[in-house]
């Protein structure tokens, strides 16, 4: 059936077909599923969450308005205050670690190395595999009696005479979580930054080398500024998802020992779902929103800054 016969056979459009060719109607129909889903399961719950934060709702029941009581209680709750502090510390240290190591890895991969695409594929594995399941592997690595790290350090190298108690004390537990989080985050940072590095034209480096620029100068004056737009976006996402992290902490420590590793998200879960205090849990979740708004605005302005990309090809 070629074009001419198709045109010739075209029947008079039915009323329904004409309705679907009416642009405003078509736009409404096309947007409806996505907008409907997001309204029902994202916008509405977001509003509901803010409302719940001001009530004493329990799971499955209706609460009554209690005003700021949840927040006032939280301000006097040392566990909550500690979780806020720890959420910020966790985000800060893990982000710095992820980006330092991720950028390093991206620079290594940007080199002409053998098996480049295979290595790139393998590196993404920690990102692809379900986080909880790799967290269980970390939990096993951090086991007090059968930790492989303790085995190597104590039994093989003889650097210590006592096994590490990774998850039994607050600070070792915190560092253990940060290490696992950095491990989980490196692939994403490295692969996205590598994509950014590959958009930088090699001729810039050649020109700089002809002018006698040193390696550090080339990094500082060419790589860093041209990578900045992508770096800003990747970092916003990374900060956002580290700040609201849940899985790693829930799988490895469940907030222990003695609540010292509770992030705001895990504390919200603990208070909201198993304990059934939806109102209090919602108040903790709502307390995260100001930070998220700040990060989103940051992302918006970083996005506004990426005009350099529009001119060149996009991959």
């Amino acid at each position: 059936m070629d074009a001419s016969t198709w045109v010739a056979k075209r029947p008079e459009p039915t009323a329904l077909a004409r309705l679907f060719d009416y642009k405003p109607f078509l736009i409404a129909v096309c947007l409806f599923p996505a907008v409907g889903l997001l309204m029902a399961f994202l916008t509405y719950p977001l509003g509901l969450g803010v409302y719940l934060a001001f009530t004493d709702t329990q799971i499955g029941g209706n609460g009554k308005w209690v005003g700021l009581e949840n927040f006032i209680d939280l301000m006097e709750d040392p566990i909550f205050l500690q979780s806020v502090w720890w959420t910020f510390v966790y985000t800060a240290i893990a982000t710095v670690g992820k980006f330092a190591l991720g950028l390093w890895l991206a620079l290594l991969l940007n080199d002409n190395i053998p098996f480049k695409s295979a290595i790139r594929a393998i590196i993404l594995l920690p990102y692809i595999v379900p986080t909880v399941l790799s967290a269980i592997a970390w939990w096993w690595i951090y086991d007090p009696q059968f930790s492989i790290i303790s085995y190597v350090v104590v039994d093989q190298l003889g650097l210590r005479d006592k096994y590490y108690d990774f998850l039994g004390e607050p600070w070792p537990a915190r560092w253990s979580l940060i290490v696992a989080n950095i491990w989980r985050g490196i692939p994403f940072v490295a692969i996205t930054l590598l994509a950014g590095l590959q958009t930088i034209s090699p001729s810039l480096y050649e020109a700089a080398m002809l002018d006698g620029a040193t390696g550090w100068q080339r990094f500082r004056r060419i790589t860093a500024p041209l990578l900045m737009p992508i770096l800003a976006i990747v970092m916003t996402f990374s900060v956002l998802f580290t700040f609201t992290d849940f899985q790693l902490v829930y799988a490895i420590t469940r907030g222990g020992p003695i609540n010292s590793t509770h992030l705001m998200a895990t504390l919200a879960f603990q208070r909201g779902i198993p304990a059934g205090q939806l109102g209090e849990g919602a108040a903790i979740a709502v307390a995260m929103i100001p930070f998220l708004v700040f990060a989103t605005l940051f992302s918006y302005y970083a996005l506004g800054n990426r005009k350099w990309q529009q001119g060149s090809d996009n991959d």
């Binding site: 077909a17 595999v129 379900p130 790799s134 269980i136 085995y151 491990w183 692969i191 080398m209 799988a251």
Partner: protein, 311 residues
Amino acid sequence: MTDAPKPLSTINARVDSEVQGGVTEAEGPQMMSWDSHTRRWVVVYIPLLLFLFVLLFPFYWMGVTTFKPDSELLDFKNNNPFWVTSPTLANIKKLLFDTDYGHWLVTTMFVAVGSTFLSILASVLAAYAIQRLRFKGSEYVGLAIYAAYLVPPSILFIPLAQVVFQLGLYDTSFALILTYPTFLVPFCTWLLIGYFKSIPYELEECALIDGASRLQILRRITLPLAVPGLISAGIFAFTLSWNEFIYALAFISSTENKTVPVAILTELVSGDVYHWGALMAGALLGSLPVAIFYMFFVEYYVSSLTGAVKE
């Protein structure tokens, strides 16, 4: 990777010195000397091998533990913990026959396929409307959908639990199929907007002149050309739903309705005695489907991951 690579180009020299950070001598391409091989090993290959080792070790450890009998698992003194001397399938057998693993796998598959299908359908239509039907304020709708991606599940699950409860979906797979699109639709829509952008608009104009309706254009012209984008969005959505944890933990309570990641963490950890062998077998078998899936579509993953960030 046994040998240093062939001729060292100027680019190599560039990264070498970049990685070292503060090297100050101005070396030109002509100054490459015999010792640059050693140097390249020190600044490129050894760090790269260390990265690979650290990133992959937990998976190796997972695999080794899965096949260890308990006697080896809990005795490092008489066995080399890095290797299995008498491999056993007991842990896998325990997982498959003593737990509801099969059930969890089917549930997870059902949820992942359902939510992926729903999200792709919604995203294709939305992306087409925003990118191709172009109406007043279409950029703002696009931006709003993008902003939705920035709302993390951690602040939504509590009110969503209430919504799910009121809809009577608590403890059913449909609770997950309907809530996963909250993070899948924004991602897929943005990916597809980028793909639609790369398809020349002239093709659609031709079809319009030939009298095709908008829906015919979408079905016969835009979608066939956007197949790589659809695959990228599809596999990414599938992986994200497979890996999702917090909603599945909050909205499902009965053992047989749990998804694999939640079930392994909550059902296999009982009391104070951890069955590490079975736990690791569960982690390994829960990871394998996505890992295999990933292997077939590596390029799509990389392009959607980087494309989504760049778009």
